[in-house]
């Protein structure tokens, strides 16, 4: 018996349009994300991005938890780079309350943030290369290598904080943990390894004609578009914007360190890749310098703060942001004098970066969507918050 089927005729000459759901469960989206693509043959003509699957209303949570409680929850917004969102939150509170942060704590924060950037970029590189799949000689090769390196960094975090993913390392006024004995030697050894291996990845990828074809000239973001959508981080720098908050608005003693801001002008996937590869090395340099110059002293100006209401924040408001692995992670807090914020707004880097997708996808091939998504490096915990 014949089975009735609806068939869709796809005319490659154009004309006929096909709606295709990419997601919500698609391995290349690195999270729960649905792109409703309108296709004409292989070409994307329109895209509707559906987000919110991971929405936990962090802004409401922020209003119901005290300044002491929230930093550990903040790490759950961007769980791939948990240190940065914690830092954005505590910086905002410290700005409003005008709390001093000891120099040692500021350096520890820099070390944590830069190690986190390395770990996050490792995950980005591996998953992105895996997304682009077979073209890269088996696809999973680079992924397995970079995950190996990321694990090394997570081991360092584990011996620092006791946790591998969500740390609770920062607290208002400083950091919660000091470095354990022998940790700095382990960090140096890990960084040496990673630095050495970066050359291997570059050799694997940049000598690969398929990789170049799939990334060069694909997913171009113009400088103007990047700015008006609010794109930041490696994406903005890949589009020629010399914009890095560590330089433009130094926080947490970043002014003490020498480092370079990589800028590429092409604005395509390959430019973003280049920016991140240089950032790897700059982060390694910063961590080494910070370890070498780590001052002695207390790690918090408010040690032992554990119970609700011990952090007194006066009336006021402030916006603090940090340069996370994905760009500007900001926290805007309105304080009313109570132990909890009156209003807290998360400015997620991934949210604004992903918002550029509907502007750049039309005109691409379906296969390019995967390469572009990966090069944006969204973390859906931060998109949906």
């Amino acid at each position: 018996m014949a089975v009735a089927r609806t068939t869709v005729e796809v005319g490659y000459g154009g004309g006929e349009r096909l709606m295709m759901n990419m997601g919500p469960q698609h391995p290349s989206s690195h999270g729960v994300f649905r792109a409703i693509l309108t296709l004409e043959g292989e070409t994307v003509v329109a895209v509707d991005a559906v987000i919110g699957y991971l929405h936990r209303c962090h802004e409401k949570l922020g209003e119901t938890l005290t300044y002491v409680q929230y930093p550990t929850i903040a790490s759950k917004t961007d769980y791939v780079a948990a240190m940065t969102s914690e830092l954005a939150y505590v910086l905002a509170v410290e700005k409003i309350a005008k709390f001093e942060v000891p120099k040692r704590a500021r350096y520890l924060r820099v070390i944590a943030a830069e190690l986190q950037r390395i770990a996050s970029h490792c995950l980005w590189l591996g998953t992105w290369c895996m997304d682009m799949g077979g073209a890269l000689g088996g696809g999973a090769t680079v992924f397995l290598y970079t995950i190996r390196e990321r694990e090394d960094v997570l081991d360092l975090f584990e011996s620092l904080t006791g946790a591998r993913l969500l740390y609770g390392f920062h607290q208002v006024g400083g950091t919660r943990y000091d470095i354990p004995p022998g940790w700095d030697a382990k960090v140096r050894a890990t960084l040496d390894h990673i630095e050495q291996r970066l050359h291997e990845y570059e050799a694997m990828l940049e000598d690969n004609a398929f990789f170049l074809v799939r990334t060069q000239g694909v997913g171009t973001i113009s400088q103007t578009l990047a700015q008006e959508v609010g794109v930041s981080g490696p994406l903005a720098r890949g589009s020629g914007l010399q914009w890095d908050l560590r330089k433009a608005e130094p926080y947490s003693s970043y002014e003490d360190f020498e480092f370079r801001i990589p800028v590429e002008t092409a604005g395509d996937c390959f430019a973003r890749y280049r920016v991140r590869m240089v950032e790897f090395r700059e982060s390694i340099k910063i961590v080494r310098d910070a370890l070498a110059g780590l001052p002695d002293g207390p790690i918090s100006s408010r040690p032992g703060v554990k119970s609700v209401g011990q952090v007194r924040v006066p009336k006021g408001e402030g916006y603090s942001r940090v340069e996370g692995a994905r760009g500007e992670v900001g926290c805007y807090i309105v304080a009313d004098g109570s132990p909890k914020p009156y209003r807290m707004k998360w400015r997620g880097a991934s949210f604004s970066n992903l918002a550029v997708l509907p502007h750049i996808l039309p005109g691409c091939k379906v296969a390019d969507v995967v390469a572009i998504m990966g090069s944006i490096d969204p973390v859906f915990g931060e998109v949906d918050r």
Partner: protein, 152 residues
């Protein structure tokens, strides 16, 4: 155009007759709702604030909802915080989508979280909340949650 924060504040005073507050590089501008889109265009064209940090809102209970929008000129470092109090019970605000493309998702988020309507928005529908959400806008202060306490 490259303007220092103080010069930008002067220009705002002359053009709109508003007294802005200057704090480091940040110029805070309280606006009337009618000035919202005009000032947005002014901030973009004249002050060169091409970069959109974020757009959101604050519920001031009896005083109503205030919409805030932070934009920045990345070349000069001048940042402008636009704020407008809509007034008690008022939920309509003009859109900024035609000024900054990024306002699209942010206004949809404010629509979700505060129940605000942005007049002129091309595609105002839910962004983060599910289609079956029936408890009302969660970031409004009159929102009654389910009573679940996320900690012990």
């Amino acid at each position: 155009m490259s303007l220092a924060p103080a010069a930008a504040a002067d220009l705002i005073r002359q053009t709109f007759g508003i007294e802005p507050r200057v704090e480091d590089r940040l110029v805070t501008v309280p606006l009337a709702r009618e000035q919202w889109p005009d000032f947005g265009r002014f901030a973009r064209e004249t002050l060169g604030c091409l970069y959109l940090n974020f757009l959101s809102a604050i519920d001031w209970k009896a005083e109503g909802i205030e919409v805030i929008c932070r934009v920045e000129n990345l070349a000069t470092g001048v940042a402008v915080m636009m704020r407008t109090k809509l007034g008690a019970g008022e939920l309509r605000c003009p859109t900024l989508v035609d000024v900054w493309a990024g306002a699209n998702w942010m206004e949809r988020e404010a629509f979700d979280m505060f129940g605000l309507t942005f007049d002129g928005h091309p595609d105002l529908r839910r962004l983060l909340l599910g289609d079956n959400w029936e408890l009302g806008p969660p970031l409004r202060k009159d929102f009654v949650d389910s009573g679940h306490v996320p900690y012990r």
